[in-house]
Amino acid sequence: MSTHETILEVEDLKTQFFTEEGVVRAVDGIDFDVRRGEIVGLVGESGAGKSVAVQSILRLVEEPGAIVGGEIRYKDDLLFGLKASADDPQERTEREEMLSRTEMRTQIRGREIAIIFQDPMESLNPVYTVGSQIEEFIALNREVPGDQAREIAMDTLRDVGIPEVESRYDDYPHQFSGGMRQRVLIAMALACEPDLIVADEPTTALDVTVEAQILNLVDDLQARYDTSLVWVTHDMGVVAEICDRVNVMYLGEIVEQAPADDLFHDTKHPYTSKLLASLPRPDRTVGELDSIGGVMPEAINPPSGCRFHSRCPEAREVCAEVHPDERPSAEAGSHHTVACFRDDAFDVGYWDSPPIETEASGGFAASLTAEEGESG
């Protein structure tokens, strides 16, 4: 964490999927950045848009999805950016300095930004040996001859704690355990010494003891190589363990952004605090879990105003009418931003607005996806 220079900057990113049922606004205007040597968490429940957000960074979003707005900067490169078209001010086209698809492939992915997915079995080709895959990856990205690539591959595999590298080099992915496969992927990500690694739920499929090994490994390697990480997870425990700063996502938006300690101990957004309260604790016995009523609505037709208002125990009329943007919390300072009218940074008359009945406060909505929480 030497320089603290910002290496990735995401501004007002919007990614949408154009489906037959309508436009799914999977990521709807998020801002965040990553500094050198930092682990930044992106946390939220399934459907919050975490994965789409990181796929957008690498421009991996495929049909029928597309990035429709915002700007992504990585160091001096523009990964994505639009400008108003010359002929029609309504229409926007890609900016000239934006990297082409080929440039993304040859200059960014793998070399500068590597990605680790949740399911290591799906990221590895089952009909090639583990060694040959990592070797090919190194040979392509670092432009080294075969022998040397093999040597680097073996060294990296040892680095991530794979035993018997010599004899296991020619094993196939199915001959490795889940934890070992994830180590192989980490080795692959590290092999080209990228400055940023995007990890999309990398420990979710693993057992706790294996997860602990991998988290320790990541800690070690990160300190050694000074790599930055964007860590996508739904697990608040993992966030607490390794993240420096955290972005909490809900339905395509970032609702709270804070250093890890502040997020857990000076929680500002009701969604974050409800999410924390709904977790069973390993370190103490709790009487009853405080669950969040309802389920996350569809991103096709998000609720008006604050998107969490339909499940928020603190919701008032103004929450259903006005959309809160993300602002630095009045109390906590500039490093802690929150999108909730309860914070003094907003002046929309929240405290004078009458409370509304939501699923969390006991209202029984008849819509199908909405009454999950009634019994909770």
Binding site: R158, V208, P282, T285, V295, L368, E371, S375
Partner: protein, 532 residues
Amino acid sequence: MSTEPDAGSAGAVQPGFGEPLLEVSNLKKYFGNSEGFLGPITFDRDGAVPRPTVEREWVRAVDGVEFDIKRGETLGLVGESGCGKSTLARTLLKLVEPTDGEVQFKGVDLADAGGEQLRRMRKDMQIIFQDPQSSLDPRMKVGPIIEEPMKAHDLPESDPSVSARADVRNDTEYAVDVTVDDDVDVAVDATDGVAVADVEVVETEEGVTATAESDLLGATVEEAGDRVQVTVSMSASKGAVRRARVRELLGKVGLDPQHYNRYPHQFSGGQRQRINLARALSVNPDFIVCDEPTSALDASIQAQVLNTMNELQDEFGLTYLFISHDLSVIRYIADRVAVMYLGEIVELADKEELFENPKHPYTDALLSAIPAPDPRATEARAPLEGDVPSPIDPPSGCRFRTRCPELIAPPEYDFSEAEWDAVRAFTRAVDRRAPAIDAAEADEERGAGTLRRELRMTYFEDVDVGGEAGEVVDEAIAAVVDGDPETADALLQEAFAERSICAREDPNYVLEPELGGSVHKADCHLHRGDAD
């Protein structure tokens, strides 16, 4: 609905709350790993003519498990993937045939129960699986899905041990005599062995009429002088009773009874798991095995489902075996906890006792591996090294000994703690062919002396192991550098690992619990002094 056992589970006795409902002793389930007719045949190619040998290897998925589950409690079963949790669950319900051992449900041995008797006993034992999607038929509506187990068991059926009676509200001048059919307990819940039907008798222009409060019952009236004779009987078909029960259950698990006619895909994951719950409850079971029921759900949804499961347990007097890999969930839902490792239960105690006073190093390791949702919880973690050994050829003695951070030193050598730590770490590194060992073995550029010194620096930096043990270590280091880690491994295993009490004796200890509960089973030789 009737809640008492039916005549079908012959010999079964309903135990009281707190008495064992399920007793398991020495349960084993082995799977042959070479299936098929020719699978087990291997050829020995050492001689001039290949000699065929028939040899079957067994995967010991569950290997001698012993515990009981008391009526009304939740027993949590926790362990890593591959430790045999799910096989144990399936073996308990006889969904797979046990290799050996006994499972007694309400005093009846499941091994002896066959055919019709087993089928009827299954009514009392239900299971909920991890993936709520794949356990629901996508082409069936939710109502019929929940109804199906009742159909399979030809429910509802009247319980002969329940008597029936009517509670009459009489708004007429007549005196009322009531006869109630025996089978109304199908429509009205029985309390203390009596089903009470509420009936209202009123006088209208057409004469005296009687109505039963339950839609499923009919009441007829016969006038005789200044008295009326009311007869209460079942008017609804079995199908109608079942459908009414499905609607009731949908409400109980937190869904809308209106959703009877929807398809599973129209529900979210959490709601689908609620449908599975309702289906399991439809036959009024006593015992539900829950195999990772919330692992596929988001945190906030998991909390809702867990809370519902708790409420249903109280309402229906259910007994759960709750399987999970997540200790936090177990801590929330369970009363007692069993920890499983490689086919065996290594520790079993009351929840508080197990979490606050764990006695087995494996439980300790599991507990310290969970990341707590609090960045200030800075407890240094020492994650377990290596992988779970193969269940085909599990380690002798204590199965955790190959990874245990507290492996007991063999008494032959008078090791100090630091010496033993170093020797143990080195023995394991060689056994696993850890990266440092591997690198030393593969290195062909540097001289043997340098490599030996380097290995010594890595594993024996601050300690100097002398005497007989020191000689073994020297020999092993030399073997590794010579590119023969097999010899080194054999040497170290023979000299150290296999001489520990952990390798020589099966641990089996019952300790005095400190924080509640009656017994604390902890199969670890560290407690060989404190056991009863």
